[in-house]
Symmetry: C2
Subunit: 467 residues, 2 copies
């Protein structure tokens, strides 16, 4: 952006928001020029801190007038460069819109502003005996989680972010403020915008309010760790548990190299074996029967040892250890950056996919552990890369491509939960085929000037033009 333009825009934004909520400060901009990934940084021209949907609408209209991008920003915990403003522009930081607006206890609904974090919401909900189910590990904002269709450990039972969104208030590229849903548990009215906007990564609009589904905390919860001789055996046990129809609440795979990192980082003494971390929610009688059945199944698959945690404290230690795995890898490998693969395959293809992934990592001589939300067929290779070593970076790229190709060849997806951002763009045509033209047509219809987080999800250049 030209300096003169920036000056005018800055003045107009300050008129709108006051001096204190418009920043050109280098440090503030730097904080908004990266996420938690290995993707290169790029600073926004300005950062603004709106407090209302109306302000967001006016910011978008100013951006539209000036023809520069707007990039919605939660906490920057995304993993594929979603919030990095590679075409410059205005970053809209939602940290001042962080109120839990309403808990509708008997409707199992909560209305929140986009800057509310997952843990903040759960703290509030606990007072009502309720919880919000989606748990991607990071304490992300709910606006960001909706924008990327986050999921994580609990989606095998409760579903992904898209399944929890009952309504969104969205500021569109023309400044209009719309609602994508209602408070009804189901609807067959109009075209379904909720699902389309969830996962749109800021490319269709900015979320200014979310109405989300919440759940009652179950009567009983039990967690377990089960160690297996091989990753294959662990994965096959998961498939059998699902086929038995046991409504498991979480089932996470952690391979041997990852278990080492877990023990080192969290001070636990868990067996260094391919391990399933499991959780069950239900009534006391049903839970006992589920657990008994599950124990039989894992033993049939060669489970060497299963340890239960029925007390809250033990469960918390177990899940903390699992959740801190990414940070364990980061702290264990100073100077290296994390690169994470994220494919999801049909569950019948999971054992083969994990096997293929392990072989590929070993063959390329990379440092990496495999972990995953295996109940959904979604797994990650956490790679620790020396970005100053071009050969290693090349190998990591090669690995990612091999993993993605394997998944796409089996009707899977290149990203189960991290989203596209810029990192998964190159696979969009391969995955979606001619459907990509429909996606581009929708983007162009809703954002004809391409100002909403441009260059993310898919290459939204106008079809047939070089714009």
């Amino acid at each position: 952006m030209m300096t003169a333009d920036r000056k005018t825009l800055e003045e107009k934004l300050k008129e709108l928001l006051g001096d204190g909520r418009v920043s050109l400060n280098e440090t503030v901009r730097a904080l908004h020029g990266r996420d938690e990934s290995y993707h290169a940084e790029r600073l926004p021209d300005l950062v603004v801190f709106p407090e209302t949907a109306q302000e967001v609408s006016e910011i978008v209209l100013l951006a539209k007038e000036t023809g520069i991008p707007v990039i919605p920003f939660g906490l920057g915990s995304s993993l594929e460069g979603h919030v990095i403003p590679y075409s410059g522009g205005i970053t809209i930081d939602f940290s001042l819109m962080n109120q839990v607006l309403e808990v509708r206890e008997s409707d199992f609904l909560v209305r929140v502003q986009p800057g509310v974090t997952r843990s903040q919401l759960n703290k509030e909900l606990k007072k009502y005996g309720l919880f919000f189910s989606v748990d991607p590990g990071a304490d992300a904002t709910l606006g960001g989680m909706a924008a990327t269709n986050a999921s994580g450990t609990t989606s095998v039972k409760y579903g992904v972010m898209r399944d929890q969104v009952r309504d969104l208030e969205v500021v569109l590229a023309d400044g209009s403020i719309i609602h994508t849903g209602s408070l009804a548990a189901k609807s067959a009215s109009g075209l379904h915008l909720n699902g389309l906007f969830v996962g749109s990564e800021g490319t269709l609009g900015c979320f200014t309010e979310l109405t989300l589904r919440v759940y009652g905390i179950s009567e009983e919860t039990a967690a377990a760790r089960a160690s297996f001789p091989t990753v294959d055996a662990a994965v096959e046990a998961v498939v059998s548990i699902l086929q038995a129809g046991i409504p498991i609440a979480r089932v996470e795979l952690v391979d041997e190299p990852s278990m080492e990192q877990v023990n080192r980082h969290s001070g636990t003494g868990y067996p260094v074996r391919p391990t399933l971390f499991l959780e069950f929610h239900g009534n006391s009688a049903g839970l006992r029967q589920d657990i008994g059945f599950c124990e039989e199944i894992v033993k049939e698959h060669g489970c060497e040892r299963i340890d239960f945690e029925t007390e809250t404290e033990g469960r918390n230690v177990l899940w903390e250890a699992r959740h801190n795995l990414a940070y364990a890898f980061i702290h264990g490998h100073p100077g290296r950056k994390m690169m994470v693969t994220d494919v999801c395959v049909p569950i019948s293809e999971l054992a083969g996919a994990v096997h293929h992934a392990r072989e590929a990592v070993d063959r390329l001589g990379l440092i990496g552990g495999i972990t995953g939300h295996v109940g959904d067929g979604n797994f990650h290779i956490i790679l620790m890369i020396d970005l100053n070593n071009p050969e290693e970076v090349g190998k990591a790229d090669q690995l990612n491509e091999a993993i993605v190709s394997y998944a796409l060849d089996r009707s899977g997806t290149c990203t189960g939960e991290h989203g596209v951002g810029i990192g998964k763009q190159k696979y969009q045509e391969q995955e979606h085929g001619p459907a990509i033209h429909a996606m581009r047509a929708i983007k162009q219809a809703l954002d004809p000037e391409n100002i909403m987080n441009p260059g993310k999800v898919i290459d939204f250049k106008q079809e047939g033009s070089e714009k």
Copy 2:
């Protein structure tokens, strides 16, 4: 359509499909000129019977060339005029595309053609110990159920049609054949087209293949009938059951006038009282605990009598009776047509909404019963109308408007599961506000010539034009 045009189109279609699969026969056209609703009939110009997606694509291209509409048709069991070709055109009947193509047992997925019916699919799935959860009552086709986002009695536990669709093969208005999803249980790749196309009522494209989620038949099933002194007491019991976190599989309300019809039509001797029909799925121990808890709750709400059906036969009688309720009303009132309201409200507003509905029916002196999928906040008034009595028709319209206004004032929806068709169009702006512009923009982007089932869902005239 001009006679000469029709002649040319007919010839081209016969060239494509052969004489036997293109019909101008009056009787065949009449069968495709109505649905199960009270909406006025209108015959299509031609009816075609394709066997492949490629043929559907070529039919759409011929329609595009000629500039005439295409209307996808399953079995005509819709309730808001969805398949009635008010602008004429080609009706695409999917009855020859009725194969279950693949059962992916360990992925809990099934791939079907759009003309497969719900009961046909369940018959096939039973061999694998699996079932398809969505049950709208009518034995509709799966293509039609996806087009209208059908739901019904089981969605309180398993979700609506949209929740079951993993992938659709769709022929778009430009003849291209796309896939809207993949076989992965979750994905954060691309824009989410699955959810957008489900419920689009043929206005965005024709479905030529569906990949659907299926479930394992649960270890145990139990059903119950619970009679209450008032509708309010029954509804309040449902709210309490949900708040207790009991994972109920079905919970249906049937009011007194409807219970009379049930007994008369099905030869049952159930108490003529406001009644809840309940079903529980689970493991044996969990089920016993759920049922015990449920029994306590309904008694706290004044339940006069609860009868359990644990045997398959008794359960079948119970659900047959419930499902045949609409037909019971029809057979009980010869010469009258059925008109059904279909609002859905937040569960906290349900008791008030049902109360308001009963009062309005009585005040207007109409014949009608209230029934509903009350676990979702969705209820119907089944009205039996004498279409030759303009005053009565006027009163029915007045009632429908009052019911819809009540729901929309409480952030509900004008249609929980029947869809918009033409019957609910007049409420679209009131329900969706400025979001309707986004819906129109999407329709225009994907079907610029407005040939896909035009005039349905919302008035898709181009914005700002009189076209």
